[in-house]
């Protein structure tokens, strides 16, 4: 084998600088240098005369165009008792017809053009997006203008969406994951926080088409828009088209107020929802930070080592690889835009090992808060962020989309060099920084631990692992009731 390969190998080495022999360890390989500089926002940013800022990235590779309009609005602007208003408005903008076309006619036309036109409103932003073949751009922009200025909110589509939404609501308690998501939200931010409000059959029945129209006219106007565009167009021509798109707006709305930012986390302890499934779901929560926190890079690296980094993280190694207790275990420390988003660690494991696996998570939180991480761990975390960085901007659509999002959330105004500095901010995080932020933020004894699963089996624990749920965190176990899916009232 070796003898025959020799001549071929020599050839290959000469051609591409390969090692003559395959080494026994990958560290012995050497790689050509790869330099990468992220795109600069200024090269894409355009202040339109008609009001919005747009980020425009031409990409002639394929005959496709994507245009997205982000809108300052969200469910935080819903009056109490009308939960669901933002979602309904967002959904029906495109699905409820426009001035020149009924909902059915619009759907058919878009389908024939193989065009995607979608709209939606979430917690703190709305968006309307168009993706189509570049040959159809003029027609697409005309439709987009009508969606933004003259949606019809057709009665039959409004009624149908309500019916479908209530149908969907009935499934809220069917999957333990859905129960976990709703309860985790309430525990992490408080039942009174705006983002914890949830639509009910009653709140949807309280909605009227006039409510949707009023919401739309209040927030959907150019002063609340940020635009991203990418694809197959001439930049100057597209700018002219966008000026036309947003000119002479037929109504004047209001500037969206700031997003309220006063969440409160529940008292530490274990919260248990009884649900008859043979795998318990666990969320371990603590108060988090905003993403503009000066420690956020250090927190990001710390979390990657603890549980954010998949198979290189401690939680995955301990809970999954060592013990075979869960398919996945991990943590996230997201960093909020408007308010501090909670730290969350989680896993799913068979009922009898819920307490034991949770104990491991708490132990690992303790460990990272009290003992420095290894050189290898911090190096892996940093290299992974730095060397995978080009993926952030790997398509023109992502470039325009990311910069528009930064404009929208105020990051561009606050920190215009954010992306050019990002890698060095990660590189400078030290082991001391990791220890310091872990100590500051991770307090396992104060954690809010949500468990959804078979109560009786979970409380039994496992004979090989003498840990009980009552011994975790502050030691207090509170049973949370299931809530009626349509009313959100506790069910006995």
């Amino acid at each position: 084998m070796k003898a025959i390969a020799l001549s071929l190998l020599t050839l290959a080495t000469a051609a591409s600088g390969l090692l003559a022999e395959i080494p026994d360890r990958p560290e012995k390989l050497s790689f050509p240098a790869l330099t990468y500089e992220p795109p600069k926002p200024a090269d894409y940013r355009v202040q339109l005369k008609a009001g919005p800022v747009a980020y425009i990235a031409t990409d002639r590779a394929l005959p496709l165009v994507t245009i997205s309009v982000m809108v300052r609005c969200g469910s935080y602007l819903e009056p109490d008792g009308k939960e669901g208003l933002a979602e309904f408005t967002g959904y029906l903008l495109v699905r409820g017809g426009i001035a020149s076309k009924s909902a059915e006619e619009l759907e058919e036309r878009l389908a024939f053009l193989a065009a995607g036109l979608s709209s939606g409103i979430g917690d703190d932003s709305g968006s309307v997006s168009l993706n189509l073949l570049s040959k159809d751009l003029p027609e697409g922009l005309a439709l987009l203008r009508e969606v933004l200025t003259a949606p019809r909110f057709q009665k039959d589509k409004f009624d149908l969406h309500r019916e479908q939404s209530i149908q969907g609501m009935k499934q809220r308690n069917d999957d333990s994951g859905s129960i976990q998501a709703m309860e985790a939200q309430r525990l992490a931010y408080g039942t009174n926080f705006w983002a914890s409000r949830i639509s009910t059959e009653k709140s949807l029945n309280a909605l009227s088409i006039d409510d949707l129209k009023a919401y739309h006219q209040k927030w959907f106007h150019p002063a609340n828009f940020v635009v991203s565009a990418s694809g197959d167009f001439d930049r100057d021509e597209l700018i002219a088209k966008l000026e036309t798109l947003f000119a002479n707006w037929p109504f004047t709305g209001e500037k969206a107020p700031p997003v309220p930012a006063t969440p409160t986390m529940a008292a530490g302890g274990v919260y248990l929802v009884d649900k008859d499934v043979n795998q318990g779901r666990v969320s371990v929560m603590l108060p988090g930070v905003k993403r503009d926190d000066p420690d956020f890079p250090a927190i990001t690296v710390m979390n990657d080592i603890l549980g954010g980094g998949g198979f290189t993280s401690r939680l995955m190694n301990r809970v999954r690889s060592d013990e075979g207790l869960a398919y996945g275990a991990g943590s996230s420390f997201p960093g909020g835009v408007h308010y501090a988003r909670a730290f969350q660690a989680g896993l799913s494991t068979k009922s009898r090992t819920v307490a034991y696996a949770t104990r491991i998570v708490l132990d690992e939180m303790n460990r990272i808060a009290n003992t420095p991480v290894t050189d290898e761990e911090i190096n892996t975390a940093k290299r992974s962020f730095v060397d995978s960085f080009p993926g952030t901007f790997n398509t023109k659509a992502k470039i325009a989309g990311q910069f528009a999002a930064d404009e929208f959330t105020g990051r561009f105004a606050q920190d215009p060099e954010y992306w050019s500095k990002w890698r060095s901010r990660i590189e400078t995080v030290s082991k001391d920084d990791v220890l310091r932020v872990a100590k500051q933020h991770l307090h396992p004894d104060k954690a809010v631990i949500l468990v959804v699963g078979q109560k009786e089996e979970i409380l039994k624990g496992h004979p090989d692992h003498p840990v009980k749920l009552e011994q975790l965190a502050s030691g207090k176990v509170t049973q949370l009731p299931l809530r009626d899916p349509l009313t959100q009232e506790p069910v006995k």
Partner: protein
């Protein structure tokens, strides 16, 4: 991607021309049997690398179902030099572990005997373990602890992650096992090193902990979801002879019974070079990549026996099958028809039929949700697989509509496809979407890799370029012919799902207790309407209408009527009191 001619596109008004936007794949064969597929794409400084082993759950047999997938997990456990500080001692420990496992298997056999005799009811409960089992487990644990002092945890992953790789994962289906990752464009050689090493000399350490992980995956995906258990059983009922009838994840008693020896044999048989296709898409020069791949993967010896193919053909179905389940779901109907394998000439027609039925302008949504108003949602999915295929239609019932009515409405739409030729505009709409998708699929390096892995795993990567024109060539006559051929009664299995009583958490009206699952939504809807009505006269008219109807002989129907009459009378009394 090269810029193509704009003028051709502009000239087109109705149809989107298919310009042959093919993915330029270079196919090579390595002397030891590997197939190599290369696609240069320089839009981003990344390389997406993957390989597909032509083995899936269909290659298993009863007793070791789930092994193909478990095996996928084991491929990340390292090599003699990756994952341990002492390869020699590591292998010795694995050998000693196997001896203990063999003794544990003898205990497990005793536990199964106890189960058959009714001496225990659940051998998975920790209390069912024999004393000897517990002792052996302790011994095994001691070996594991020693092994852990030598382990370099998840080193395979750590090396890639430290190198800036992303998206590392793998998947197993009935037909294939695919492995993939994306690396910076200067790290092609690292990919070659890592992937060829794990194919050349994998070490399946931590086998039994990983087996537990897979069981947790089964609990997560199948056992603790609202529909998982039912979907698995319905699928098992759908296929008679074909090995598609067991789940990819494996039966719950098989997963914990698979031994490392079985995994070793499985590897030797199905992971030979001639059963594997290597695929690279991204920022490299094809000739250089070929050389590098040849050097690294050329080290792996060709296997000495070709892996067996799946020879079982599904039998002709002679009767419709029906499945009735009570689950934590909204009432719904799920229908499966037997169709054809991937690449069959009728599969392109079925793709078009799927799209005619699907989406908000598709016939199911328009016919069932908007038109007849029997459903809140409806959709279709064509699923050709490597050895056989199926087509699915499903719909969720609108409150108060029966599942029988829902099912018949689906058939009515299918029947229309068979009897009335598709209008030209409607067919063109579907074809336009397929044509546009030919562009949309080219937007990322990783997305292109995934499509090639999938198509090659199904039998032939060339389908990524050849299916487009074949779909464009489908005629209205093809559609009628294919619908008539496959969408027959004997060819289908039908599942009715009703909501499990007491589930959902909503307090059910105790009056509804004796009603059938089909009647309950009707009763709820009537009751809602009655409570919302404030006009007593209107309610009295309704009451008179119902009382004027003959009660019929069906006792269930009589009971429903009685309940509604009672609700009406109570509401009228309440209104008149005010």
């Amino acid at each position: 991607m090269k810029r193509f001619l704009m003028s051709v596109v502009v000239a087109a008004t109705a149809a989107i021309p298919v310009l042959g936007q093919k993915i330029p794949v270079v196919e090579k064969q390595l002397p030891n049997g590997f197939k190599l597929l290369l696609v240069e794409r320089h839009e981003e400084p990344r390389i997406a690398g993957g390989w597909v082993a032509h083995v899936g759950s269909a290659n298993e047999r009863p007793g070791i179902t789930g092994i193909a997938h478990l095996f996928e997990h084991m491929m990340f456990k390292g090599t003699p030099t990756l994952g341990t500080k002492d390869a020699k001692r590591d292998l010795e420990i694995i050998g000693e572990q196997e001896k203990i496992r063999e003794l544990i298997r003898q205990e497990e056999s005793k536990m199964r005997t106890a189960l058959r005799r009714g001496e225990v009811t659940d051998i998975t409960s920790p209390e069912s373990r024999t004393d000897r089992y517990r002792e052996l487990e302790q011994e095994f644990k001691r070996l594991l602890e020693e092994q852990r002092t030598l382990l370099v945890k998840n080193e395979f992953d750590r090396i890639y992650t430290t190198a800036g790789a992303t998206k590392m994962n793998a998947f197993t289906t009935e037909d294939m096992t695919g492995y993939f990752i994306e690396v910076p464009s200067n790290k092609l050689e690292l990919w070659c090193w890592m992937e060829s090493e794990r194919l050349l000399r994998p070490v399946f350490r931590e086998f039994y902990a990983e087996r537990d992980v897979v069981f947790e995956e089964r609990r997560m995906r199948t056992e603790s979801t609202p529909t998982g258990k039912f979907a698995e059983q319905f699928n098992a009922m759908f296929w008679d002879a074909h090995p598609y009838n067991w789940p990819v994840i494996g039966w719950p008693s098989d997963i914990p019974a698979i031994s490392k020896k079985q995994a070793d044999e499985f590897y030797a048989l199905y992971y030979q070079p001639q059963n594997i296709t290597l695929i690279l898409v991204g920022d490299f020069k094809a000739d250089q990549a070929e050389k590098l791949v040849g050097e690294y993967f050329g080290r792996i010896p060709r296997g000495n026996q070709p892996p067996p193919e799946v020879t079982t053909l599904e039998i002709q179905s002679s009767a419709e099958k029906r499945y009735n389940a009570e689950a934590e779901v909204n009432p719904q109907v799920d229908i499966l028809w037997r169709t054809v394998a991937f690449g069959h000439k009728d599969s392109y027609v079925l793709e078009v039929i799927e799209q005619l039925l699907n989406g908000r302008t598709g016939r199911l949504y328009k016919g069932l949700v908007l038109g007849r108003q029997v459903a809140t949602d409806a959709g279709a999915a064509n699923r050709p697989m490597k050895w056989a295929g199926m087509f699915n239609a499903s719909a969720e019932a609108k409150d108060g509509k029966s599942l029988d009515e829902l099912e018949q409405s689906v058939y009515a739409e299918i029947e229309k496809l068979a009897t009335e030729p598709i209008p030209a505009d409607e067919l063109q709409k579907v074809k336009n979407n397929f044509a546009a998708a030919e562009y949309r699929r080219l937007t990322t390096t990783f997305g292109m890799l995934y499509q090639i892995i999938f198509s090659e795993g199904m039998g032939d990567w060339r389908e990524i370029n050849e299916s487009g024109p074949r779909i464009q060539a489908v005629t209205p006559e093809d559609i009628q012919r294919v619908v008539k051929k496959y969408f027959t009664k004997e060819n289908r299995a039908v599942a009715h799902f009703t909501r499990k009583p007491g589930s959902g958490g909503a307090g059910e009206d105790p009056d509804f207790a004796g009603l059938s699952a089909d009647q309950k939504p009707m009763a709820r809807q009537f009751t809602k309407r009655i409570t919302e009505t404030t006009d007593a006269a209107q309610l009295k008219a309704m009451l008179a209408g119902i009382q004027g109807q003959p009660a019929g002989t069906d006792p269930k129907r009589q009971q429903l009527q009685k309940i509604i009459v009672r609700k009406l009378e109570a509401r009228i009394a309440e209104l008149e009191k005010k």
